[in-house]
């Protein structure tokens, strides 16, 4: 496995009238070839801004202040617009949350697909059309020969998301960034789309960066998970690490707040108290401190990443060797 994308210390801010809103505050992560990485976090945690920053899609008043985005070892941030344009849609594709609005309502679906293909794959009109039809068939759209000449409003939501996926994958990208691809869809369609993405990943070995707030989705398709909060990565690890041995109180809180159905039992849904930090004046210490049940004095200082096991890191003082020692002692006392 080789590193496809490496993000290093990415910082993105929005210059508003009230001041600088630090949406992404130093995010670093890697994506390997063929991997499905999930970024989870609540609204405003910076996950979508991170994704948009990768492709240089931040528009004023937003600014990427710092950081590197290495794609095959080349920094996307150093590239000129034309160079970036050659990569966007070709090597890195992106799909969005709302398939209702991602397609231009006044242009036929086929024409939109063909345009992308012609630009990147240097196909002629007939060839691009042929390829577009194949892609539509691949994502499970019945009678693609006819559907290709229809307008977006003639497709259902799920079908449109299939079209978007077909469009995104038509140039065989190496990385697909999916920004909440299933949020706007109902649950049955959601499962279908996730399965489709998994199938296509297996068939093409495309890496996927999946951005979502739905832990269920993450558990279904991802191999690795990044938990974001307040513009920072709180915890990162494999799906097993995160779901079975969450080490960060925020992740633990998130997992507890998933509604569970138990027979004959009525439980109150657990939620994390409080609200996310104001990124206009971000806290200097741990961003989760205000809401953390384990908060202590030390949390006013920004913790470093601790590594409880290989490939698993967590931004929390609880994992420092002192604290671990204390914990062990306490457990010893109890026994």
């Amino acid at each position: 496995m080789t590193e496809l994308l490496s993000v290093q210390n990415l910082k993105t801010s929005f210059m508003t009238r009230e001041g600088e809103v630090e949406s992404v505050r130093g995010v670093s992560f890697d994506i390997q070839q063929g991997e499905v990485v999930g970024i989870v976090g609540e609204s405003g945690s910076g996950k979508s801004i991170t994704a948009k920053s990768l492709l240089g899609l931040i528009q004023p008043p937003g600014v990427i202040k710092e950081g590197k985005v290495l794609f095959h070892g080349q920094d996307l941030r150093q590239m000129t617009e034309p160079q970036l344009r050659a990569i966007r849609g070709n090597q890195i594709a992106m799909i969005f949350q709302d398939p209702m609005t991602s397609l231009n309502p006044v242009i036929r679906v086929g024409a939109q697909m063909i345009e992308v293909l012609r630009r990147h794959q240097k196909l002629d009109k007939a060839g691009a059309r042929q390829r577009a039809i194949e892609m539509l068939r691949e994502v499970g759209i019945p009678s693609p020969e006819q559907r290709i000449d229809q307008y977006p409003h003639e497709f259902s939501g799920g079908m449109r998301q299939r079209v978007m996926i077909a469009m995104a994958l038509s140039c065989k990208p190496e990385l697909l960034i999916a920004d909440e691809p299933t949020t706007a869809l109902d649950v049955t369609i959601q499962a279908q789309i996730l399965n489709l993405m998994k199938q296509l990943r297996d068939a093409t070995n495309t890496s996927i960066l999946l951005i979502t707030h739905d832990l269920g989705v993450v558990a279904q398709v991802c191999t690795r998970v990044i938990v974001m909060y307040g513009g920072m990565i709180m915890e990162e690890g494999t799906v097993e690490d995160i779901f079975e041995r969450p080490s960060h109180p925020y992740t633990q809180g998130l997992l507890r707040s998933i509604p569970r159905v138990k027979e004959g039992q009525r439980e109150r849904l657990v939620s994390i108290e409080g609200t996310p930090p104001n990124l206009l004046h971000p806290p200097t210490g741990c961003p989760f401190m205000e809401r953390c049940p384990h908060a202590m004095d030390k949390c006013r200082e920004m913790p470093p990443y601790f590594v409880p096991e290989e490939g698993h890191r967590s931004l929390c003082w609880l994992l420092s060797s002192d604290m671990q020692q204390q914990k062990r002692e306490q457990e010893g006392d109890e026994q």
């Binding site: 492709l55 899609l57 528009q59 004023p60 970036l84 344009r85 050659a86 990569i87 966007r88 849609g89 070709n90 594709a93 992106m94 969005f96 949350q97 709302d98 609005t101 991602s102 397609l103 231009n104 309502p105 006044v106 242009i107 345009e115 992308v116 630009r119 990147h120 307008y151 978007m164 469009m167 995104a168």
Partner: protein, 281 residues
Amino acid sequence: MNRMRWRNVKTQFKEQKMGIVALIVLGIFIIAAVFAFLAPHDPNKIVVTERLLPPSAAHWFGTDDNGRDYFARALYGGRVSLSVGFFAMIVAVVVGTTVGAVSGYFGGAMDNILMRFVDVLMSIPSFFLMLILNAYLKPGISTIVIIIGLLSWMSIARIVRAETLSVKEREYVLYARVSGQSNFKIITKHIVPSILPTIIVSATINIASAILMESSLSFLGLGIQQPNSSWGSMLNNAQGYIGDAPYMALFPGIFILVTVLSFNFLGDVFRVAFEPKVNRR
């Protein structure tokens, strides 16, 4: 433009009878202007013996102070007035749409500079600017077209900019960027087509005001020069004979009025048709 919108235009025409009337009137005027050469008389042929004749079977609209057939002159004048209106509108729409779309799409400093420029142009009374420019430039149809066009694009630019600001936030525009489309293509393929209805509405209204401007300029003797005529210059000419031959003022005056009114009605129909929910009355 999709089919839905055209269907709306059709139903709107059915609902608003004035729209159909306006369309028919304009149709007649345009056909008359195109086929002006079929007029029974030469518009510029001076017959001194037939000065200031009232309307009759031989001269439908009478004759003017030089004994020229007024009907033929009105036809040719309509040709000038309508084409000046049309071409000035084209100039204004092209400049206005370009400036508005670029300003709205790129935002930031570009937006600021362009929009302040628009503000400055809008704060100069354009009619006086027109008078001054006209004094320096060689009078003629193309000069008038360019002057009117270049002084009336600002409001279109503002409207287009505002619409662009909202359209560029749509996800398909973002998607187009994500899929590597160039800015030029995004503007021409995604932004301008989505705001075409707005452009059509302001273009229609713009024709009306361009015709009015041309008439005013010609009325002041600064527009179309003799022996050519436009409705405005015919009015100017009619001034001196208002007591003897009131029909000389009446015909071009009515034509200007009806044309401008029709374009305004048409603009209204388009506006309601393109935004059926917002503007239903």
